[in-house]
Assembly symmetry: D2
Homo-oligomer: 266 residues x 4
C-alpha cells in the first residue's frame, strides 16, 4: 500500500461535507486547521493513502493521493493561461512522449504542460523548458516541486530566438505567441521522423504557423481542437452540464522529414 | 540517432507520392514491393530513423518511426470498435497512469487502449488485461507485438464476473457492455484513492453505471465526452473539415474511497 | 421609413457608452431617465426608426427596432427556462411553420417559443397555447403584448391530459415534463403528414418519448441538439469565446402518418 | 383538410418499404412507376394530404406534404454548396424576417436560403435575389417553382459591385466570396436599425469581413457557428450518430446604425 511521503501533495477529504483540501507536505508545516478541528501535518507522513485521520475534535478525514489532473485543476498556481488536461493529454500522446524521453517545450507558462510531460517521461526522462520570463520559471518550478517532478525538468532562462541547445530530442512543443518564428529551431532540435506540437489560441496564429510549416520539410501537418463536454451525474435526469469551455486552444502537429525532400527546405 | 530494430514497426514514406506504408519488420520478411521498385526489408535494420532508402529502381523512400497514434489509426488490426486516441489519451491522464504503474483493463478489444496504457507504464509497468473471448486476446497480442509492447501486457482469458485476481492496482479501466455488474470487483482491485475509468457508447449505459457507482464508496464521479474537430490545413482558406466523428464513447471516472464512508457501501 | 408605434418595444441606444435600453412604449409612460438626461417617451412615437433623439441635456440616443431575438434575449420576463433562439428557429423551420398557420404548443413557459411561432405565422395565423399554470399564462401574455403579438396567440388554461380541442392544425409543439403522456393527443390534433416537435432537457426523457413515438403511426423520427458557438469579434485575434452553452435542450421531431399503417397504431 | 394542388411537390411514401419519393406535379406528368406498380399522377390532385393511393397492382402509398426542409434536403437541385436548414433557420430569425418583409440576398446559389426567406415572408413579402451567374438563377428558380415560391422571389442578374437598387429593405443577406467588398452597398439598402447577415466558409473571410464591418456604422456585430448533432433513435441504446457535419459555414450578423455615429463612417 502506498504511503504518504514527506514531499507529497495530498488531498484531505472531509467525507461528511464532501470537501477537499489540497496540501503539499514539504511546504505546509505545522497544523492543518478547519472548523472541525486540527490535524498535525507531520502525522500524515507514512500513513497509507486511503486511510482515515482524525482531527483533535474527533472528526475523520481521508488521506487521498493527488493526481496530476487534480493538481493542475485545483492546486497549480497560475500566472498564465494553462494547457488544460484535455489538450495536454492529447498533445503528449500525439507527440508520442513515453518513459525515458527527452522533450523540449517553450514557454513554461505555469507548468501545466510541463507537469504532464514530466509525469509521462518519468524518472529517466527529461523535460527541457525554455522560458524568457524568470517569474514564470520560478512559479512553474514551485508547482512542479509540489508534484515531486522538479528533478525531471531542466529550465533554461533563454530567448528561443537564439535556438535550442539540444538536438535529437524526442519531441518539441511550442506554446508561444509567434511560434512561426521558431519552427526552424524546433526542426533542428527534433529527431527526424518525430513530432512537433504547437498550441495557439487564435486562428490568425494558425494561419501564420501553417504557412511556415509548409515551407519547411514537415509532413502530417494537422490542426485540431478538442472539446470536453461534461454531464450532470444524476442518473434519473441525465443531461449535459449547462455550460462548457467553448475554446481553450487550437493544436497543430507536424512530423519532421529529412532535409532533402520535396516538402520544403530549411 | 535512433536506429531501426528488427522488431520495429516502421513507416516507409514515399515523399513524391506523399504515401505511407506501415511495415512490421518481425512479421514482414523478404521484399517490400511497390510499382516504384523493391526494397529488401532486412536492409532497413540498423538504419537511422529519418534516413533514405532506395528501391532497386532508384526511387527514394524515407524510414520513419511509427508512433502509437500512427499505429492505432493505420496499422492496428480491428476486430472491435476501438478506443480512439482522443479518448485514450484523456483516460490515461485522468487515471493518472505513469511509468511503472500496474493497470487493469477489461476487455482487451483490439488492444488500442492497451497499447496506450503500455506506452505510458513503460518497461517497468504492467497492463493486466482480462478478456472472455480468446480471438480478441490473440488479435490484440498480435497488435501489441508489432508495437514491441507485448512484454508489458499480461492477458487473462477469464470472465470478470469472477472478479479480478489483483489488488492494490494503480488504475482500473472497464470497457465492457454492462460495466455496472463489475464495478464492485473494480473497487476491490483498486488502491484506495485511485481512479476507475469506464467507457460506454450509450446513454442508457451511463445511467446504469451511475446508479451503481453511487451505491458504492466512490467520489469525484464524472461523465464526459471528448470531441475532436480537425481543420483543413490550407492557410489561405482555413476552415474546419466538413465532417467529424460525432460520437465515439462516453467516459465515466470515479475515485475509490475507503469502505467506511457515507458515500456508499460494498 | 418605419415609424415607432405607441405599442412598440424599442431600443434606445447610447452610441457613446455603447449601451442599450429596452423600452415598451405601451407600458413605460412618462420620462426615461438616465444620468445623461431625460427623454419624454411619448415623443418617440411617430419618429422613424434609426433617428436620433436628444435628452434634455442634449445627449443623443438612437431609436432602434427590437427584433424578436433581441426581445427574447434581453427583455422577456422569465419565470421558466426558455427556448433559446438557436433552438426556436430550427423548431419552427422543421415544423414547417409559415404565415397563416395554426400551431398548437404546450406549455407556454415564458412565451419565447410562442413569440417565435407568432412572429412567423403573422397576423393571419394563430398560436394556440395550452398551459396548466395561470401565472405562466399571465407572464407570457405580458411578454407577447410587448412584442405586439398578443392577438396572434390564444391561451388555454387547461391540462392537456384531457387532450387538445383542435384538429387539423399545421404543427404541434410539446415542451412539457412528460411529453410521452400526450403524444396521442398531439397525434389527433395534427394534420396527417405534418410535424410534431418535442423539446426535452434530459436523455431519460428522450428515451421515454422515443418509445411512445415508435408505438404510434409516426415516421421521420429524429432526435438532435443544436450547439451555438460564438467568436470574439477581434479580427487580429479571431478565436471562439471562452465559454458557451453546453446544453439547452434535445429536440425530437416526427411526422404524422395516417392510422392504418404498419408504423404503429393509436 | 388540405388537398393536393396541381403545382405541389408531394412525397409519395411507401409504408412497407419505408421509402419516400419526391414528385413535383407541375413537372412530373403521366405515370409514376415503381416495381410495385404505377400511379397516374393526375389522380393525386385534389386528394387530401395523408390519404392513401393505390398502384394498379394494389399497393398502397401515402400522399404527404413536402416541407421546406424536406425539399432542401432531398429535392433541391444543387449547383452549389447550399445553406443548410440549421443555418438558414437561425439566419432568418436573427435577421428578424417575418411575413410581408422585403429581403435582399446575394447570391442566389441553389436557392436554399431563398426558399427559407420566401417561406417566411409569405405571399405578401418579397425576396430580391442578386446573382451574377445566369445558370444559378435558372436553377434556383426551377427549385423555387417546385415549392410554389417563384412569385415571392425577384431575381436580378447583376453584379452587386454596382450596388443594390433598393433602399429601406427589412434585411440583407450576403453569401458571396468576398462580402467585404459589398458591405457598404448592403448598408445603403438596409433600413436603419435592421440586420445584415453574412455567411462565409473560412476564417480568413471572417477576418476581412470584421475589419470592414468595424469601419462602417454597424453595431451588435456577432460571429457564430451552429452545430447540429443527431442521435440514433433506438431508445434502448440511445447515442449520438457516429458522424456529423463539422462545418458548414460561419455566420456574421450586424445591425445598421445611422451614419453620424462614432461607430464608423461610410
Amino acid at each position: 500500500m502506498a504511503a504518504v511521503k514527506e514531499t507529497d501533495t495530498v488531498i484531505l477529504y472531509d467525507p461528511e461535507k464532501e470537501k477537499k483540501y489540497f496540501l503539499n507536505l514539504s511546504l505546509s508545516k505545522g497544523k492543518f486547521n478547519t472548523d472541525r478541528g486540527e490535524i498535525e501535518l507531520e502525522s500524515l507522513i507514512g500513513k497509507p493513502y486511503g486511510s482515515f485521520i482524525e482531527t483533535h475534535k474527533g472528526f475523520k478525514y481521508i488521506i487521498l493521493p493527488c493526481t496530476v489532473v487534480d493538481f493542475i485543476m485545483h492546486k497549480l498556481n497560475r500566472l498564465t493561461q494553462i494547457v488544460y488536461p484535455k489538450d495536454a493529454a492529447f498533445i503528449a500522446l500525439k507527440l508520442n512522449v513515453k518513459p525515458g524521453d527527452t522533450v523540449i517545450e517553450s514557454g513554461i507558462g505555469s507548468g501545466a504542460m510541463t507537469a504532464v510531460f514530466a509525469h509521462i517521461v518519468g524518472e529517466n526522462g527529461k523535460v527541457i523548458s525554455y522560458e524568457k520570463r524568470e517569474e514564470f520559471i520560478k512559479n512553474a518550478l514551485s508547482n512542479l516541486r509540489k508534484l515531486g517532478y522538479e528533478n525531471r525538468v531542466i529550465t533554461k532562462h533563454k530567448d528561443i530566438a537564439e535556438g535550442f541547445e539540444e538536438t535529437e530530442v524526442d519531441a518539441v512543443f511550442l506554446d508561444v505567441r509567434e511560434p512561426w518564428l521558431y519552427i526552424h529551431h524546433a526542426y533542428k532540435a527534433l529527431k527526424t521522423g518525430n513530432m512537433l506540437g504547437i498550441l495557439v489560441p487564435t486562428v490568425n496564429q494558425i494561419i501564420e504557423t501553417l504557412k511556415k510549416l509548409q515551407e519547411l520539410p514537415f509532413m502530417d501537418i494537422e490542426v485540431c481542437e478538442i472539446l470536453l463536454r461534461k454531464y450532470k451525474t444524476v442518473p434519473e435526469r441525465l443531461r449535459p452540464e449547462d455550460r462548457m469551455p467553448a475554446h481553450t486552444a487550437f493544436l497543430i502537429f507536424a512530423r519532421k522529414l529529412p532535409q532533402e525532400t520535396e516538402n520544403g527546405s530549411l
